[in-house]
Symmetry: C2
């Protein structure tokens, strides 16, 4: 087929795609048709123009090119593409946004050709960075990652994090396609149709840019074909487009964002589209059938802290990555410029090819983790617990992608000391508890940390591990097991006056309190609730039944953490619970001073127990 | 004093400042001296070189220039500056990082010359944007805002959000001073000492840049004095510096980030510094004594929804801003490109000079809110509840600045419908509950929304208001009051079988359930828990005492929201609580379908009550 004939065919396919976009959204009564119409030629040229390489019969083929719709609200376009490819019928398309349909309002992996859920703007490029890093440095495959971007979402700083990192890692296998349709949700964007405004900014960060008429299939194809040269630079195709293109009465007009056409207007629009050949099908070029080298997995090494008394759990994290890597060769470690603090540096030292510095850009780090997860890796993404909160929206979104990501937050709590509150994670347990299917782990010693890092790696889903800055005594034998959802009863007797439930740093405070109280003839039960989610309901119920008072003590906000988790577990048990937690705005000071100030120290526990037992 | 003499004096002051930096950190045994030393000439030239204008006797003077240390870990430098200004003694300086000292590890407003707490990198420029917007567009004063930036933190996307917005708003009264010392925490930054790498990027975004030798006081002064021309462009002074400058054995070397010198090394360093005249004092130029026009406050208008049956609470939010503005003329509305959805657009229409579009850049929006709050405004920052999670780190940090900010998250819950989970706020109540002194409000109708927006404006601190997308029936009379920490008992009798505690959209589900149950002869108590934090403990206790079953129902994650808040309030009451919440990963669908799917509908409540009453 000659080029002109080919491009006429692509034009017909684009018409068919517009047909599907309009029908889907009008039938749903909602959606973003104008945002989908502006990118129609871009995607048509890419997917059906012989550039995109994908085997629809094998969505998981490791060498498939990837597409991410960072502008997730253009989902009607994405589904229309697959209908034009013959993978969805018109009937399927008309289930758009219906309850139970895989064609959701914004793309989710419910639809087999979606890798990662999008819809919260400004996140797709980071996901693409993760997939491109995987291709270039891990799987070492030639597949490309294409990210469809909207212009409004370029205001999101996360995009510029991705842009910087992509250039730094020379990701010439990452292609952004920027749909500059001028109009945001409530008006014109900052730069309107000034393509060069985007061009000069993106070029200044080291990308190659190509400016095109986004509705000229031949220009778009030509730009995409220019990408064949390897240049060590990521590529941004910057396309001038018209929002609502193809429906003249909404083209380039404000006020039509997120509005489906009425039935009447749909009729008008379809008539104006002209002849739509619904039997038309686009061809997608197949990928090269190359696969990455298979990874043999072996066994994890043995835990050995012989001769050591106190070790920071953050050190144990770094040690654990090295120890378990043979068992989980899909592990990748990424960190936000603090690997010497989080101890991800231990792993970087032994397996530098499996470690990627993410610099001070946590949002991008979370997106990269998702991209790596989509490509079958097990990312361990670490920073200070406090700074993971920079990525809450990305982490929130990753729960809708069936992501398999392990987040590790070091420097939990006030007990970090003199650096003060800006560095203290105090809300992290609360946030990670809210995520569907997440597990939240807060080990108190090196041995349990090592075991739980291994459990987290084996767990399929989002895991959060909180580590501690200071050294804490080793409590457990190297061969003890720490199942998710379990706990450890460290002290118990037949006459426990109260139960103290702690995790992480406060376990040691509780043990100190136990000692002090023993000397007064008072026994307490001490539970190490290392699994904050899910919690060990049975052990907690037993403690509630067998002891008169329950006390939680946590180096965390009073809301959302241990106390809330225990109350949730015992919600049908009608128990009283006394919660010691960080209730006062913390400040600089020595760790011990701060634990006392916040009344979560051994001393505070003793006082609370005495108050309850005596009163 | 001639220039050369003046600059020699500044050199002596810089020496004194180095003396304080080294002594403070060694005495504390921790801190970031090398990061402070690299910016010493920069700050000396600025503060004492006749450029910075500030009255130390009046830190709140409205026309003072402002300084923000975005690289908050250079706090030793900040305190040393004020010691050199005669506002701290050496004895004060030696309390650095001690518990109870106002000189914390990272700056907080505990120290009178700090406006906003910093220390989580990449946030200072946004705070500066807020202060500069205030100067240029609100107070209309000539003061300037200077932000000291580190090079590593330029990887943070939030900085690029600020850079874009600053250029867009022509903030030529905002001066960034970028300390390019080449070394991050664990190694070299992406661009090392390549000043032009920063220069071209920042210029591409529309700033003016000046490249200087950061240790040449004369070059730095000359650059700062060039700023006198008004250019409609923000200015970035990009300075080549040496990390650890002034202590030869650590200068420009990796491995010394965040390390205080030992006593022995301190001796060496101080000797090498040479003669330090600790009696030396730097002069700070006074500001022009101009004040903004005083704002007269009047009364809020009357609430009037006569003739309306159902109104979305998000509409009531927009109406409320207009209604209460006369009472709170310090209100400023900022929104993240969704004002037509959040209805901040209603206020923009009436008071366009008090509204600032923040585009799709929520991190920057939260920082701007903090900057505005520091300058005495009452910012209402709105977006979808889900997208406020983009700014969790900034919001977390604002709690350490005694910030007075109102965050408004629309589109809470699964009940937004077909757009699907990317747009659904499901974790927002949990996050805002964790903040010190925060109030969390979730009104169910237009009247209560109007009242609570007013209460939030009057409250001094961080407030979060969650609004709903769909229209909901008006339940309350226009003259009812809704105190913070209160609740409304909508239905009660002497024979309530159970209490249903709801908020927002689920209040209406609960009322529907009440009706259905009445028809079966079962009475339930219905509580509108519009104040999720603090909660109405007395009403909840009474309900626990007087009814056999407590049920919470929320369009929110099962963790961290209503259920946890009620359990926290009743933690000493030994009650059972049944929690209906969003427990299944949501999807697209009609609002009604999703409420049923998540079992938080009227029907689900009826079933739960029957199960408890019968079983």
């Amino acid at each position: 087929m000659n080029t002109r004939h080919h491009e006429e065919r692509l034009t017909d396919i684009a018409r068919l795609i517009r047909y599907y976009i309009l029908k889907a959204t009008t039938h749903a009564g909602s959606g973003h048709p104008t945002s989908s119409l502006s990118a129609t030629e871009l995607m048509t040229a890419l997917v059906f123009g012989g550039i995109f390489r994908y085997d629809p019969n094998n969505p998981d083929h490791p060498n498939n090119d990837r597409i991410i719709f960072s502008k997730g609200h253009a989902s009607p376009l994405y589904y229309a593409i697959w209908a034009a490819a013959g993978r969805l019928s018109e009937e399927d398309i008309l289930t758009y946004r219906q309850f139970g349909s895989s064609l959701e309002g914004h793309p989710t992996p419910a639809f087999r050709y979606v890798d990662a859920a999008t819809g919260s703007l400004g996140q797709g490029l980071s996901i693409g960075v993760g997939m491109a890093i995987n291709a270039k440095y891990l799987d070492k495959l030639p597949y490309r990652t294409y990210v469809l971007l909207g212009d409004s979402e370029m205001a999101e700083g996360s995009q510029w994090e991705a842009i910087q990192i992509a250039a730094h890692y020379k990701l010439d296998n990452l292609i952004g396609i920027l749909d500059v349709n001028r109009l945001g949700q409530r008006g014109e964007t900052m730069y309107g149709h000034d393509l060069e405004a985007y061009g000069k900014r993106i070029r200044s960060f080291g990308w190659k840019t190509l400016l095109v008429d986004g509705h000229s299939i031949s220009e778009v194809r030509a730009a995409l074909m220019e990408i064949d040269e390897r240049s060590d630079r990521p590529i941004m195709i910057i396309a001038k487009t018209i929002k609502g293109k193809g429906v003249s009465f909404v083209e380039d007009q404000n006020g039509f964002h997120g509005k489906a056409l009425s039935e009447e207007d749909l009729d008008k629009a379809l008539k104006a589209l002209g002849n739509v050949d619904t039997s038309l099908r686009g061809e997608i070029k197949a990928p090269e059938d190359i696969r990455p080298p298979s990874m043999e997995s072996g066994s994890a090494g043995r835990i050995d802290y012989t001769g050591e008394e106190s070790v920071p759990t953050r050190n144990a994290y770094g040690n654990a990555l090295n120890r378990i890597y043979a068992r989980f060769p899909r592990i990748v470690s990424i960190d936000g410029e603090v690997s010497n603090s989080t101890r991800a540096a231990y792993f970087k030292k032994e397996h530098s090819e499996r470690f990627f510095e993410m610099y001070i850009a946590e949002q991008n780090m979370a997106g990269v983790a998702l991209g790596l997860s989509c490509r079958g890796k097990i990312p361990f993404a670490s920073s200070f617990a406090a700074f993971l909160s920079r990525a809450c929206d990305q982490i929130r979104m990753s729960q809708y992608s069936d992501a398999d990501i392990k987040f590790v937050g070091s420097h939990g709590g006030v007990s970090i000391g003199q650096d003060g509150p800006s560095q203290m994670g105090l809300e992290d347990l609360a946030f990670f508890r809210t995520l569907f299917g997440s597990i939240v782990l807060y080990p108190c010693d090196a041995v349990s940390t090592e075991r739980l890092v291994e459990e987290a790696a084996a767990y399929r889903g989002i895991a959060y591990i909180r580590t501690t800055r200071m050294a804490t005594p080793i409590l457990y034998d190297a061969d003890e097991s720490f199942p998710i959802g379990g706990s450890k009863v460290l002290k118990q007797s037949d006459s426990d006056a109260a139960t103290v439930i702690a995790a992480g740093v406060t376990v040691h405070e509780a043990l100190e309190a136990w000692q002090t109280l023993q000397e007064s003839g008072v026994s307490i039960r001490v539970i190490d609730l290392y699994s904050v989610k899910p919690v060990d309901v049975d052990t907690l119920k037993r403690a509630a039944a067998e002891t008169d008072h329950l006390i939680t003590v946590e180096d965390h906000s009073a809301q959302g953490g241990l106390a809330d988790a225990v109350r949730e577990a015992l919600t049908l048990e009608a128990v009283r619970l006394h919660a010691l937690a960080v209730r006062k705005k913390p400040k600089s000071g020595k760790p011990r001073e701060l634990l006392e100030f916040e009344e979560i120290s051994g001393k505070a526990i003793v006082e609370k127990v005495k108050e309850l037992v005596d009163g």
